[in-house]
């Protein structure tokens, strides 16, 4: 005859409940509900867009967020990653910004990022791009209202530098002062040493943004 069921010992309880919690967490990670590493966040961002696997080639921290820049022949992808309950860390895995490269995998590509401070409401505009172009020395990204009469729009500028992997890239940043009106650029101008425009790039669809502290 089967005897009365013995209650779990404390050690059994501690181990089984911890195992159950870890199993739940593992299931949530497997289902892409939560992301505990940058790799998981990027995998979900790739799946969300259907880009195929990308490779990280650049990383930068803005405010409290790490931005991972990854690429393949189809896309230049920016994925944020942060482990902070206050800043909705469950949103890891959403692509922040991306540029479609499927029509010109080896060409110019750029992504724009708009951040708004949660605390002060101040805006921060950033543009990152790859410029595989001989003779390119700098870029300009003007506020698109350049044709307005009696209006001198702000222009984001940055020199072209070389990444550790040898490619030419740029990082432009603009933080409008309070009361300054700025519209995010839609077109990128690539200039040579003499300041002549040698290429243009439409980046109107390549913007993304988020709220954070910086």
């Amino acid at each position: 005859m089967k005897g009365p069921k013995r209650p779990w010992t404390r050690r059994q309880r501690a181990r089984r409940w911890t195992a159950a919690a870890l199993l739940l967490l593992a299931a949530a990670v497997a289902l892409h509900w939560i992301h505990l590493t940058p790799g998981q966040a990027m995998a979900t961002a790739e799946k969300t867009l259907g880009t195929g696997e990308t490779t990280v080639f650049f990383q930068k921290k803005v405010g409290n967020v790490n931005l991972y820049f990854s690429e393949n022949d189809n896309v230049l992808l920016v994925t944020p990653f942060r482990l902070s309950l206050r800043y909705d860390w469950w949103n890891n895995g959403q692509p922040l910004a991306w540029a479609d490269r499927s029509r010109d995998p080896g060409g110019i590509c750029a992504v724009g990022l708009t951040f708004v401070s949660r605390d002060t409401g101040q805006e921060l505009y950033q543009i990152f791009g790859l410029v595989p172009l001989e003779g390119a020395a700098s870029i300009q990204a003007p506020d698109p209202r350049t044709t307005w009469p009696d209006f001198s729009p702000q222009v984001m500028t940055a020199p072209i530098t070389t990444l550790p992997d040898g490619r030419q890239a740029f990082w432009a940043q603009y933080r409008p002062e309070e009361g300054v009106d700025f519209v995010r650029p839609a077109q990128l101008l690539v200039l040579d040493e003499a300041g002549q425009v040698i290429a243009t790039y439409d980046m109107s669809q390549n913007w993304g943004g988020d709220y954070l502290n910086f």
């Binding site: 209650p7 501690a14 919690a21 479609d100 499927s102």
Partner: protein, 249 residues
């Protein structure tokens, strides 16, 4: 030394400093069962019951020693750890519960988007004039289905000379429980004989499970429009026949 089982058990349990009431009750039950078994055996051997019970209690040994030995079986650190583990389990379970309602509710919208998007509550509140149902589906790079289920055409309210064409699109996943349903990129529209994209506006739904889009462009009378989509290697054009006959008659 106590001779009654109850007094013996109480003395033992008083020594269990870190046992919970439930654990003390379990110890008490187990020891009482042990005393009862021994008593029964002694009664069967010819002892009278009160004597047998006293003998059984005495055979258990010193209750203080028994209590001290049992107390070592209930270490405080495992009690704390088991409590923390329970808190962790409950916290994880509660946190994950937030992910369950969305996909469950969204699955209904998703199935409706596949079978009859024009019957959706979103479309019913945004039906364009002279609505013509269409049936075009295209799978996008991320596996979502891009479905053009209808279009409408009517004069612009603010301008009698121009017309507004509204193209009704729904995007859904083949997996009804998938959360993300947004278009990776919006389509563009051109008029027949013109390569420049038309200026467009669009409305979207906030449903989970399927996302509805109403794209509006303003062609001139009699012009046909073409939808263009190009994103992450998925490229297609869809000529759209507008119901000019009904609008211009």
């Amino acid at each position: 030394m106590p001779t009654s089982p109850d007094a013996y058990l109480q003395t033992v349990c008083a020594c269990l400093r870190h046992a919970t009431p439930k654990e003390k009750a379990a110890v008490q039950t187990e020891l009482a069962a042990h005393i009862d078994d021994h008593t029964s055996a002694l009664v069967e051997a010819g002892y009278n019951e009160s004597h047998a019970r006293r003998q059984a209690v005495e055979a258990m040994g010193d209750p203080q020693e028994m209590g001290a030995a049992l107390n070592r079986e209930f270490p405080l650190r495992w009690l704390v750890l088991s409590r923390l583990a329970l808190v962790l389990l409950v916290a994880v379970a509660l946190y994950l519960c937030r992910f369950i309602p969305g996909p469950l509710v969204g699955a209904g919208y998703n199935l409706q988007a596949r079978m009859d998007p024009a019957a959706s509550s979103y479309h019913q509140t945004h039906v364009p004039p002279n609505f013509v149902p269409l049936d075009f589906q295209q799978t996008l790079s991320n596996g979502l289905v891009f479905s053009v289920y209808g279009l409408g055409l009517g004069p612009l309210e603010s301008d009698d000379l121009h017309y507004e064409a509204t193209v009704c699109i729904v995007v859904y996943s083949p997996n009804p429980f998938r959360r993300e349903q947004s278009l990776p990129a919006v389509p563009t529209f051109t008029c027949s004989g013109d390569s420049d994209p038309l200026s467009q506006t669009h409305l979207t739904s906030t449903h989970s499970g399927a996302k509805y889009y109403d794209f509006s462009v303003c062609p001139e009378a009699g012009q046909e429009i073409t939808l263009h989509y190009s994103c992450l290697g998925v490229v297609f054009d869809l000529p759209l026949e507008l119901p000019w006959g009904e609008v211009l008659s």
